[in-house]
């Protein structure tokens, strides 16, 4: 399955197609945001090539949008470095569950890490790891970057032609994460995680409105840590109390949605 045969392998081509299909849902959110970036770059009086340069050099949506205003104000590099660090530190948490072990070592894996945007994380943690292949994940991520870069170029064009672009496309990002949350929280098993996350984000917004995302993730991780040690203690007690009796009914299965 190597060498010349690799490029015509129908199995591999099917996986690439799956990756492209995976990227469509998030693409609906990424492309308009890329357009917004292109429009902002031009409106801020910055050179048009900055839009693709940001999308290739950094490839992290929210930080790129933020950078446009920082660059237009000629912010010092050190301030930019600190801001990028603060906004992007959430990526630290993605390593805990992103299925990177399914991606082939070498260039594919390096690309997959470089292109680990929120949307790529959200797409591939929702699919069981055993159904994922390297070709599928990497082509999905390549497609996402193509939407982002392409959207940016279209945005640059729009800013040069239309006096007032249509508003509201950016809602696609909100809709995207709503839909993904609904899909991730389908089973009753996820209820504790969702409740703890809701609590975390609520507190974070009240206590640290400017750093709500990062604060919520730190708090959520802390709460999950507490949960781990509490359930582990519960499990050892349970195991001691009832040896190996299999329950007659499947509790979780009985409550279907």
């Amino acid at each position: 399955m190597a060498g010349v045969q690799d490029s015509v392998d129908p199995e591999r081509r099917g996986q690439v197609r799956r990756g492209l299909v995976d990227s469509l849902g998030v693409g609906l959110g990424i492309f308009p945001l890329g357009m917004a970036l292109g429009v902002l770059v031009v409106q801020a009086g910055l050179p048009w090539w900055l839009a693709p340069a940001l999308s290739v050099g950094i490839f992290a949506g929210s930080v790129e949008l933020l950078l446009v205003s920082l660059l237009a104000a000629a912010t010092p590099l050190f301030t930019i470095a600190v801001t990028v660090f603060a906004v992007n530190s959430r990526h630290v948490f993605y390593a805990l569950s992103f299925p990177l072990h399914r991606v082939r070592r070498g260039l594919p894996r390096a690309y997959s890490v470089y292109a680990l945007i929120d949307e790529a994380y959200a797409t591939y943690v929702l699919i069981p790891a055993e159904r994922l292949t390297s070709a599928r994940i990497v082509s999905g991520q390549l497609a996402m970057q193509a939407y982002w870069v392409g959207g940016g170029l279209v945005g640059v064009l729009i800013a040069h032609t239309l006096p007032e672009p249509i508003q509201g496309f950016e809602f696609a990002l909100v809709a995207l994460f709503i839909v993904m949350t609904l899909d991730a929280a389908r089973t009753r098993r996820e209820v504790p995680s969702v409740l703890l996350a809701g609590l975390s984000v609520g507190i974070a917004i009240l206590a640290a409105p400017d750093q709500a995302l990062l604060a919520a993730l730190v708090l959520y991780t802390a709460l999950l840590t507490v949960r781990f040690f509490m359930t582990r203690r519960g499990h050892t007690e349970e195991a001691a109390a009832e040896p190996s009796v299999d329950p007659a009914g499947d509790h979780e299965g009985s409550a279907s949605d």
């Binding site: 609906l28 009086g45 990028v84 660090f85 508003q167 950016e170 609904l182 929280a185 996350a197 959520y220």
Partner: protein, 108 residues
């Protein structure tokens, strides 16, 4: 016009920091993969992280222009309703919610 060298340096700095934040955690976690604690976190985190992202971008859209809060709430409701009633087709739900939002902003 802003200096080209400054813009390129900024992209480079921001790019390297972002890459380090994405790559280092994988390197650090590698020896811990077998840890039951790390495995539990990996299993529990996705649903909650997605909810947190959803709430933060939802709030961000309202904060950006509080006068549009009602449109954000209605469009989010439409997204949820379409997703649950129309067999969870992500593309359809996202398109419906976004189209609703664009229309609401256009008619006011």
């Amino acid at each position: 016009m802003t200096d080209t060298a400054y813009l390129l340096a900024a992209v480079l700095v921001a790019g390297l920091i972002t890459l380090a934040l994405r790559a280092l955690p994988f390197a650090i976690l590698k020896p811990l993969r077998k840890s039951r604690f790390i495995q539990a976190l990996g299993r529990w985190m996705p649903a909650g992280i997605l909810l947190i992202l959803a709430v933060v971008v939802f709030r961000g859209e309202i904060v950006a222009d509080p006068g549009r809060a009602w449109a954000v709430v209605i469009a989010a409701g439409v997204t949820v309703a379409v997703h649950l009633l129309a067999k969870r087709r992500a593309l359809l739900s996202i398109a419906a919610g976004t189209a609703c939002y664009i229309l609401l902003l256009a008619i006011i």
